[in-house]
């Protein structure tokens, strides 16, 4: 059954479509619904042409409604084994973190054996989606005006397909309560609650700070012989150092990096002690710990086709990206090198600091989804760590 529903933006733009996945709230349910933060959030777009499942399950999208610019979604179904939610155990909140998905055309037909439909997967994971809207218009709007806040919603009257004035009033009121991404600390909503050891046989001890880590980062590390010591995002530097790691990775996560003072302070204590690596949010936190500043980008980088130049080798590779904030290179101390630069908009994509054994990436070398051309960076992480083994 295709239910009518709407995507309403904070600037008054309304898109009418059909619901898929979990049913979005009716306008009169908004109050109660608000806490779950589903269907409401910052609206971004992702230009990947595949990988909707990985995107859906990526904890970095917490609090965001993702518009897939590629019009067809659900083509090849969904499979739990592709999920990026991170290790099963130690999660305080299982399931999809992303607030909602917007597509042009959802596929509702048969999928390969052993898989389920995207519709079903989203329904099972309590995440609403909207299909049948002009995603091009939405994307251009975001490109030109920045990421708005939005809400996927149904009319109050179950027999009606249109939003009444009253509905709209309720929606507007609710949207105002959606917090700005800038200034938001989302770490408490994701990531492990307790310490955990993965691949205990591993020879290289990699401490990983989980602020909403993607499962594939852990896979990449264990595949390279790491014993992964997973710490919650709230772990202290003492705890981490006490575990005697060969290297420390600050992983990806959602929200505004600038407000994570606790983590930044914690990282300051790690600098120089052990080789330190960062991915995405991790990169932003380490940069800040080094004295740098982050800023909110207009609509960020969300896609699988971003060219990044390694200034050390001159090589350019295609990367998977998902970030709405970036580090301002000019604010970093002079011993820090902006090693990676986005070849398109020249924004900074990662740093290296040889004296302090720091190497970070703003992009996602673990891909999932997207190209794995930069996965060599994990080799470097592991090599650095191995070199520092005592």
């Amino acid at each position: 059954m295709q239910e009518h529903c709407y995507l309403v933006l904070d600037d008054g733009n309304i898109f009418q479509g059909y619901s898929f996945g979990a049913l979005p709230p009716r306008t009169h349910e908004l109050e109660e619904f608000g806490i779950k933060r589903k269907g409401a959030g910052e609206v971004v777009f992702n230009t990947g042409m595949s990988g909707y499942h990985e995107i859906l399950t990526d904890p970095s999208y917490t609090g965001q409604i993702v518009t897939m610019t590629y019009p067809h979604a659900g083509n090849y179904g969904s499979d739990n084994s592709w999920s990026e939610i991170g290790p099963e155990k130690g999660r305080n909140l299982p399931g999809i973190k992303l607030a909602g998905m917007v597509v042009k055309k959802l596929y509702r037909g048969p999928v390969p054996e052993g898989r389920m439909t995207l519709d079903r997967f989203m329904r099972d994971n309590d995440t609403p989606g909207i299909t049948g809207i002009d995603t091009r218009r939405l994307t251009l709007h975001i490109r030109d005006n920045g990421s708005p806040k939005g809400l996927i919603v149904r009319p109050s009257d179950s027999s009606s397909t249109v939003l009444t004035e009253a509905d709209l009033e309720a929606v507007k009121r609710f949207i105002k309560t959606i917090p700005d991404m800038e200034g938001q600390n989302l770490i408490k909503e994701v990531g492990s609650e307790q310490q955990e050891i993965i691949n205990p046989e591993g020879k290289i001890k990699m401490a990983v700070v989980d602020c909403g880590i993607k499962a594939n980062i852990i896979r990449e590390l264990t595949a390279r012989g790491c014993r992964v010591l997973l710490f919650p995002g709230t772990a202290s530097s003492d705890e981490i150092l006490k575990s005697g790691p060969d290297g420390i990775l600050i992983a990806n996560g959602p929200g505004d990096p600038a407000v994570l003072e606790k983590q930044i302070e914690m990282i300051k204590n790690l600098i120089g002690e052990k080789p330190l690596f960062g991915i995405c949010l991790g990169h932003q936190l380490i940069s800040q710990a080094l004295g740098g500043k982050t800023y909110k980008m207009k609509f960020g980088h969300h896609g699988l086709n971003h060219p990044v130049r390694d200034m050390r080798t001159g090589r350019v590779f295609v990367t998977s990206q998902n970030h709405g904030f970036a580090v301002d290179t000019d604010t970093l101390p002079s011993n820090v090198e902006a090693r990676f630069i986005n070849a398109n908009d020249k924004s900074q994509e990662g740093i290296v600091c040889d004296d302090l054994n720091i190497l970070t990436a703003q992009f996602h070398p673990e891909a999932a989804p997207g190209p794995v051309d930069s996965s060599w960076i994990f080799d470097d992480f592991v090599e650095y760590a191995a070199k520092n083994k005592d």
């Binding site: 218009r137 490109r143 086709n305 130049r309 001159g314 090589r315 350019v316 398109n344 989804p369």
Partner: protein, 1084 residues
């Protein structure tokens, strides 16, 4: 690294004539490469004997040689030009193979020419199927089980191991020529033998069958710094077994999960690295087993290809241009993405639409091969459509391919279940329509069964079922706004909705507009909207934001020619492209509309705006409405736009140049006959018949032979010559329809007449005759298939004068403003008008280049109000026009002689009789120029691939009527050192005239007969004129065998005569090369 400074001059080899598997996509890529290199300051030397191309337009390259693509000519050019480097990867398989030949012959070393773009070693590795597999396995990828067979025995070994079916593919052939699939024991050895003989290195790959697996392609580009990106991924809707060139394909890949896709992506990059392709685009093909996901590498092409052209158009990423830039040292991140103007080329295009390509077949012209597609490509063209969804793009693509279907439609209701079943279970070219037929009847419930039968991925089947569901709704439900929007968003045209609902087209259009359902246009921007597009390249959809503003200022819309087909190909695209350039030079903005992704005209920077849309009235009208432009050019794109002229005119468009009533005077039989009467010109006797009986009466009346044909066709489809009542009856039984609505035209057939072709420009008053061309073959062989000579080689002053006068009068009387093409026949010294085309013809590019006049530019100038006299083309006052000041001019070839030779793709179709007739069958053409007729003809033959023999035995078997004419030719052959063999009758005749010929048995006269001798390689040359009968038994067996053996054969005395003059030239063993001259310097 920036561009290399140590290189100054670069040699490019084009792909030669259009053949199936190697079409105008190489003009597109070559033109792009030339432009890119010139922008970087290199001097570019181009060799390509195909006059139809844009790339051979003077001014595009620094020096252009239209010489044969063979080692001696290339050596001569290299020794004259002394290029620093050769770029072998943009001229298709031909350019690649010739570069290898030059390397092997030591010529590149001798003259110190560096190979750029791909190393010889890498090319070899990729092209040798055996070695390629070894490399692939070494890097841990999977290949089909196979053996490289040099003999039948090798193949039988594999068969024991793997069993049938087996796929058989010869090494080093183009478009899979000579390839096949053996299903039965009986055919296995025959097919292996054929493949071995097709391969230039006499080897074939025999391979495990992957029929029914999913097929994918990746367009990859890698630079010297080892940066590599996937430009485009393509999924074949038709699974493995149907050549990708013949498959319906869609970009991007639809049915792979991200993991599967990344695995394929990694494999593609690994393969490029392993093979060593490090500065250019390549194409890698994969098969994936649907249930297990097992991925197998099929092949890679270390060069730009048909798929890369498609990928460029589908994504906006100019692969050929980038490849050329990488070849001279740039890296991907140094090349700006011109579509956005702000990003670099080291990225992977993100699509937010779906691109669907549908091949266009001309299988009705090759009747024996109709039933099945296979691993050998058979389509002659393709159309690309973009839509926001697969369904929208698919329906638009079906419409674009111009086969009379408005979108996916059911097969005729009277189709039998058996036939339907057959179409589903074999690789039938209409398979998707069979699928649609079933889905229309049974809905989604049929998906599983259809999957079992066709192996179309269920994703495709489900989507197609959705189109069927909408059709059924349209049939049964009221046309609600939602339903109408659904239909439009799924690519249904108004015309199609009208056909389903029974409502009028106008009514639907009105309903639609009243409800605000109008087309909107999106940019093709390479980045799914992430960056602003700087280049206006558009496609349409419904119910979405409209991004394009109206074009401001003086602008014109040029309607191009759509998918290539026999009779309407590259020549017309070249015309449209040059017109666009000419308009822009005149300060007028040009807007191009085309659906053919292989072309230069659909390059994003040729015109001010580009629309990839179906060339049908409705879609064109929408563009005109949107742009608010009145002026539309319909004269240059062949019959496609011309046929739209009347509708456009009625709707209020201003047709540029010749007006619609003038077009009708030429196209309408009755009006045209009246005109001929008025001008006192002669036509072959011609009538119109609306019933079978009437056809017979007409024929009896005018006397046999007669020529039968339907009206308004290009390429002469289903034309037929009947020499007797019996033959007439055979034709009429062959599924021909005759009625008031579908009349058949009956013409007196001029037997053994000379045919002439004239292209002219008229400004309404003055006439410039661009050239008078005389055919080598007699009338009755389509002008597109006949070799033709510029100027007339065997004619009288009287005839030339008459033709000149007639052309001028016709042009003025009709009211031509722009182009005019006339075919004349001369029989017994009398002039007949065969046909007048009020548009640019196929020969316009040939004449432009041979005469050094940019005819297209002149036409555009006429349209901009500059008459021919001002243009300096008409200097002489026409004394035969007394009531007005009329000036005329006549074009001449620059070198003295120019010969156009037709090129066929006959060898694609097994056991196909290559005899020529009034229906056009050739796919391409070449030019030969020279100071003598012999030189020009010899070069044309060489370029067409039929190298003339200079010694050996000539076999002569001619019709009685031809005996007198053949005598001097045979004598000449003797003086040239040939021995003569002949069938009994011819031999007796020759003996009577003092020539001794060895007698050869005809097929039914015993063994060894002529076929046996051909097989044993006894003859160097065949002269066989089956005059009067175009399908005589015995003769066709000779011709078929000759094609198989690639023997030179001529079927008319004039062709034999031309051949001897060429052989005389070849005997001198001169290699003369002549760069193209730009007389007026007005080519830009």
């Amino acid at each position: 690294m920036p561009a290399r400074k140590d290189l100054k001059k670069i040699l490019l080899i084009g792909s030669g004539p259009i053949v199936i598997g190697q079409a105008c996509e190489f003009d597109y890529s070559g033109t792009q490469a030339v432009k890119a290199l010139k922008e970087d300051g290199y001097e570019v030397i181009l060799v390509n004997p195909n006059p139809a191309t844009v790339m051979t337009t003077p001014g595009i390259a620094d020096r252009i040689y239209m010489e044969p693509l063979s080692v001696p000519y290339l050596e001569e050019i290299i020794s004259r030009e002394r290029p620093d480097a050769i770029l072998p990867t943009i001229g298709g398989q031909t350019g690649l193979n010739l570069s290898l030949d030059l390397y092997d012959a030591g010529i590149l070393d001798k003259y110190n020419v560096e190979v750029i773009g791909a190393s010889i070693d890498a090319i070899r590795l990729a092209e040798d199927r055996g070695k390629f597999k070894e490399v692939i396995q070494k890097i841990g990828l999977d290949v089909p089980r196979s053996v490289v067979a040099k003999t039948i025995r090798d193949a039988v070994e594999l068969k024991k191991e793997v069993g049938l079916p087996l796929v058989i593919r010869p090494s080093y052939t183009l478009g899979g020529r000579g390839g096949s699939i053996a299903y039965t024991e009986a055919e296995f050895e025959i097919l292996v033998e054929k493949a071995l003989s097709e391969s230039p290195v006499k080897e074939a790959l025999i391979e495990e069958s992957l029929i029914g697996w999913k097929e994918f392609e990746m367009e990859v580009i890698r630079d010297p710094a080892d940066n590599a990106v996937i430009v485009c991924s393509i999924e074949n809707v038709d699974p493995m077994g149907v050549h990708t060139g013949d498959s319906i394909t869609v970009a991007p890949i639809q049915s792979l999960s991200d993991r599967e896709y990344q695995e394929m992506r990694n494999a593609s990059l690994d393969i490029l690295r392993a093979i060593g392709i490090d500065c250019g685009g390549s194409n890698v093909q994969f098969a994936v087993k649907p249930d297990t996901g097992r991925m197998i590498v099929i092949e890679m092409n270390p060069r730009v290809s048909r798929s890369s052209a498609l990928a460029s158009k589908a994504t906006g990423f100019p692969i050929a241009r980038c490849s050329a830039q990488l070849a001279v040292g740039y890296t991907l991140d140094e090349i700006v993405n011109e579509i956005t103007g702000e990003t670099v080329s080291a990225f992977e295009p993100a699509l937010d639409y779906v691109a669907v390509k549908i091949p266009r077949f001309e299988l009705e012209k090759f009747p024996t091969s109709y039933a099945q597609l296979g691993t050998q490509m058979k389509s002659v063209g393709e159309a690309l459509a973009l839509g926001r969804t697969f369904n929208e793009a698919l329906n638009k693509a079906v419409r674009s391919v111009e086969i009379g279907k408005e979108g996916l439609t059911a097969l005729p209701a009277d189709i039998t279940d058996e036939k339907l079943e057959l179409m589903l279970t074999t690789l039938h070219p209409l398979r998707i329509y069979a699928i649609y037929t079933v889905l229309l009847r049974e809905g989604e419930a049929a998906i599983d069964e259809l999957y079992e039968k066709t192996n179309y991925d269920k994703w495709f089947l489900y989507n197609i079922a959705e189109i069927a569901r909408i059709e059924n709704k349209l049939k049964t439900r009221p046309l609600s706004t939602k339903l109408l929007m659904d239909a439009k968003q799924n690519g249904f045209s108004d015309k199609r909705i009208s056909a389903i609902t029974g409502m009028g087209i106008d009514e639907i259009e009105k309903e639609r507009e009243e409800r605000g359902i109008t087309p909107s246009y999106h940019f093709v921007d390479t980045c799914a909207g992430e960056f602003k597009a700087a280049t206006p390249y558009f496609y349409s959809t419904f119910g979405e934001i409209d991004e394009g503003k109206k074009t401001e200022g003086d602008a014109v819309i040029i309607l191009a020619s759509g998918p290539n087909r026999i009779g309407q190909g590259l020549e017309f695209d070249t015309g449209c492209t040059l017109a666009s350039i000419a308009y822009r030079n005149e300060g007028v903005k040009s807007i191009m509309v085309n659906s053919n992704p292989e072309t230069v005209s659909t390059d994003f920077n040729v015109s001010d705006r580009l629309y990839i849309e179906p060339l049908v009235f409705e879609d064109v009208k929408n563009i005109i409405k949107k742009e608010g432009i009145k002026d539309v050019v319909v004269q240059l794109g062949g019959q496609t736009p011309l046929n739209m002229a009347e509708e456009l005119h009625k709707w209020g468009v201003n047709i540029v140049g010749t007006q619609v009533d003038a077009i009708n005077t030429a196209e309408d039989r009755g009006l045209f006959a009246a005109l001929m009467n008025k001008l006192e010109l002669r036509q072959p006797d011609n009538r119109t018949a609306t019933s079978f009986d009437q056809i017979e009466t007409c024929a009896e009346d005018m006397g046999y032979p007669v020529l039968l044909r339907p009206s308004f066709v290009l390429g002469g489809r289903s034309m037929f010559i009947a020499y007797s009542k019996e033959e007439l009856n055979i034709f009429l039984k062959n599924g021909i329809e005759v009625s008031k609505e579908k009349p058949i035209l009956v013409d007196q057939f001029l037997e053994d007449a000379f045919e002439y072709d004239i292209d002219a420009l008229c400004d309404g008053k003055n006439v410039y005759i661009a050239g008078i061309m005389q055919h080598i073959e007699a009338a009755g062989i389509h002008s597109g298939d006949s070799a033709c000579v510029f100027p007339a080689y065997k004619s009288t002053d009287k005839v030339i004068k008459e033709m000149t006068e007639a052309t001028v009068r016709i042009a003025r009387e009709i009211g031509v403003v722009g182009f005019l093409n006339i075919q004349y026949a001369v029989k017994n010294n009398e002039l007949y008008i065969i046909e007048v085309n009020p548009r640019a013809s196929r020969t316009v590019p040939f004449l432009s280049k041979a005469s050094g006049i940019n005819l297209i530019q002149s036409a555009v100038r006429i349209w901009r109000g500059k008459d021919l006299k001002t243009q300096g083309l008409t200097k002489e006052k026409a004394d035969f026009i007394t009531d007005d000041d009329c000036f005329i001019g006549v074009g001449r070839p620059q070198t003295g002689w120019a010969v156009k030779e037709a090129v066929f793709s006959n060898d694609r179709f097994s056991d196909y009789d290559p005899v020529l007739g009034p229906e056009m069958k050739s796919t391409g053409e070449v030019i030969g120029t020279g100071a003598t007729f012999g030189e020009a003809f010899a070069k044309a033959q060489d370029s067409a691939g039929g190298v003339l023999p200079t010694e050996g035995k000539a076999f002569v078997s001619v019709h009685k009527n031809d005996r007198e004419a053949i005598l001097p030719i045979v004598k000449e052959l003797q003086t040239l050192g040939f021995q003569i063999a002949a069938t009994r009758g011819t031999a007796n005749f020759l003996f009577d005239h003092g020539i001794f010929a060895e007698v050869i048995l005809k097929i039914h006269e015993g063994r060894p007969n002529v076929i046996d001798h051909i097989k044993s390689g006894k003859f160097a040359l065949l002269i066989n004129t089956p005059l009067g009968r175009f399908a005589e038994i015995g003769d066709n067996a000779i011709r078929i065998e000759a094609v198989k053996r690639k023997l030179t054969y001529t079927t008319t005395t004039s062709a034999a005569h031309a051949a001897t003059r060429a052989i005389r030239y070849l005997k001198k063993k001169e290699v003369i090369v002549r760069p193209l001259i730009d007389v007026l310097g007005d080519f830009k």
